[in-house]
Each structure stands twice: as C-alpha cells, then as structure tokens.
Symmetry: C2
Subunit: 216 residues, 2 copies
DNA sequence: ACAAAAGTGTTGCATATACACCCATGG
DNA sequence: CCATGGGTGTATATGCAACACTTTTGT
C-alpha cells in the first residue's frame, strides 16, 4: 500500500453504539442531540471517531464518556457500514455496536461540549436520526433479538439481584411478543446462567418473588 | 469531529478474506506470498486497503483481483481487528471476511504486481502468516463452523450439480468430525435448500449418486 | 376472604440421534 | 460374484410448546 496515495486519505473510523434499556417494561434506546454541524440539532446514536492510537472499542468508551458522560458499559460489535456517502464531511466507516444497560443505575449528562441533550426514547417513538443511524438502529434491534436467547447480552440490564418476572417482561418487551411464563422460566433456568440467591424482593401487595443473579 | 486533528490521520482500512475450499475431502485456505515490504516474502490472507470512494466489500473485490486475479467470489464479514499495532507502517484496521469456493472452478494468478506466489494450503499445514492473519484465520474457521449448518455459506463450494456424498465429506472435513450419513442427508433435505436434479453422476466402480443443486 | 402476582408439573409434538440392511455399478 | 460406495427407514431420546391450578402476601 502506497501510504501517500490520496485515495487512502481523508477517511475515518466511527464507532456507533445502540444502547438499549427496558424501563417499566418498555423497550428504549439512548439518543443524544448534536450541538454542532453536520446534522446540528438532530438526534443520533452515541459514538464518535476513532483516534489512530486506540482500538475501536476504546474509542467508543472514550466517546461515550465525552458525549454523554457514560461509563462502564459493555457492548458487542455486530456490523460495519461503509457506504462512502454515509457521512457528509469526510468518508467515515461506522463500526456498529449493541449495548444493554439498566437505565436506573446508569448516569449520563444531558449536556456536554458536543451534545445539547440526551435521553431514552421508546423504540416506537424514535425521532428522525442523523447519518444512517436509522438503518443502524434497525439492524441493532434485529441483532439484539437474535442474541437474546443464546447469549448473556442482557446481563447488565438489571441490578445484581433481579427477579424472573422482571426478566420475563424485558424479553417480551424486546421481542415484542408474549412468552409463556412457565416455559420462559424453565428454559432460562436450564441454561444454567442464573442462580437463585435465596433472597426475596421486598414489595407489597403480592407474593414476593425470588431474587436471582447472573453466574458470570 | 475536527477533520484536521492529527489523531484522525494516518489510519487506513484493510479488507481481509479467509478464502476456503475443500479439495479431495481436504479443508484448505487460499494464501498469497507478498512481493514487497512490509512482510516481504511472507504468506498472508488475500486482501488490501480500502479507497475512500468505495465500500469495503468493493475494496475486497478489487484487491482480490489485483493481488490474485480472483473474480466473482461471495463473502461474508465476521469481525473487525483494530489493535493500533497490528500493522507496522501505519495504523490499519482490518475488516475480516469469510468466503468458500470450488477450487476447481476458480482461476487465480500465481504472480501479480504485488504477489510472487499464491496457493491453497491444507488447514493444518498453514505457514507462519504476516500481520495478525494467524489470529484472523483461526477466528474465520470458527465462524465458518458456526455458520455451516444454518446458512448457505457453502453454496459456491461445488459445481451447480453436486452429490450428497461430496457435500457430506466437505462438512466432515470442515468440522473435523464424523457425521452419520443418513442423518446428514435427512437433515439437509428437510432444510429445503437443495433439490434433486433427477440426474446422476457418471463415475464408475460403484453405484452412481444423484446430483443435487442449491435452490437459491 | 379477596385481589394480585408468583410459582410449579404434565402431556403431546416435533426434532435429532442411533443404528443395519439392501441396491446399483464396473470389473 | 464381488467390491465399492449409495441409498433408505425405524425406534428411541431429547427438547420445545401448550396448558391450569395452587401459593403467598397485603389489605
């Protein structure tokens, strides 16, 4: 590769995260509102450009913190978007990630140098997004649905101790369909990824449910 | 993103293909031998750097042709490698792909501007590879094994008309384990992705086997 | 005792596995 | 008629889907 060939110049790498949560049984995605051009005043997924001395994972962590004050979030890569026209100022490829987090435990900033607002949006109330983030978000939802049963991608969605009815509602909300309670419980328990803590939740008006935790 | 920030400069995008075949029941990968620095005289996977006016898929097609004369090969992305030190001259991220092809039908060049040799290698006789291609190749093999049963990733491995014993041997060779002939056949046929052509192979010394083709 | 939600077990069906014999061909 | 490999079916086990009643708690 001829390092001075202009065809290799002026291209960058973007890390883009579709960060999801389930709040009150509602499936939501985290968006930020841009302060600057291009796409000033528009909502986007969290993310930003990768420096030449960091991995893309590290770039995403840094950008999450810079753009929204987010820390300690796990994520998983699922696709790459490389249409040369997908970003206006300069050719940018996007490396797309999915993350799932408990919205009650995560701290974020409504405003930073680069963002004027940030919030959780109901999946079916997502505004028009900048860049090709609409498409990326749709693919992220598909990816999450695919992985929800055979991976622990939801492990950060709840506090360390959570109940099965909570988890059950989260699955139904993400998959957007009903799941039989008994079969859900049976299937999950025999996967051997969660364990009974022996404790119970402390909520009144009904039978208290057992608290479980992820083994990992 | 400040387009003039030096931290965004001097980084490129590499497309890297692990191209596989099964020949005489042996699982093989296609490698090329570099003519130039860095890693002069070493073997690598096929691939090359992406121009700023093409998608990464297009870059891979172009590079396959330039470096090995390869044309019309299908492939699927499976991972991204972004350690800043993975390439010596300049920071290059690698977008990694897997492809599977019939080695008898594919034409390739032993020598081009950039390559001094090219060949199929038995998986357990792969030489030391340049860059981090050893790791990429291992991940590619894992990915192929995962996809072999629920996708048509092998559809280009054989001529349009192929026999089930052929396909059976290919699966055994790639997965490196024995598979019951009857169950293999039953399972594959009920997936409904191949159809009986009504024709038979013309080889002697045994009962001729039926020819099938992929539906897609 | 009632409302609200948690917890549990059984049966049928579909899918996957294990396994053995007969068939067509060329020599 | 024999050697080679191709083709088929059945019985069992395992995993998944459907489904209804009992338990605990607070009021």
């Amino acid at each position: 590769m001829d390092i001075n060939n202009p065809l290799y110049k002026n291209q960058g790498i973007h890390a883009v995260l579709s960060l999801f949560t389930v709040e009150d049984g509602k499936f939501k995605v985290f968006l930020i509102k841009r302060k600057n051009q291009p796409y000033k005043d528009m909502w986007t997924l969290v993310g930003g450009a990768c420096y030449n001395n960091e991995t893309i994972d590290d770039a995403l962590k840094r950008e999450m913190f810079e753009k929204a004050g987010l820390k300690n979030i796990n994520f998983k890569m699922f696709n790459v978007y490389s249409n040369p026209q997908r970003s206006p100022l300069c050719r940018m490829i996007a490396i797309a990630y999915v993350g799932v987090i408990d919205s009650n435990r995560v701290k974020y900033l409504k405003e930073t140098n680069k963002t004027q607002d940030a919030d959780w949006f109901l999946i079916d109330r997502v505004p028009l997004l900048a860049y090709d983030h609409q498409e990326i978000l749709q693919d992220a939802i598909e990816f999450l649905k695919e992985k929800i049963f055979d991976t622990t991608i939801l492990k950060d969605l709840f506090p360390p101790n959570f109940t099965l009815p909570q988890l059950h509602k989260a699955y139904e909300s993400i998959l957007n369909k009903q799941i039989d309670r008994r079969n859900f419980r049976k299937g999950l328990l025999q996967k051997n990824i969660i364990v009974d803590t022996g404790k119970f939740e402390e909520i009144s008006g009904k039978k208290p449910s057992k608290l479980y935790r992820f083994k990992i």
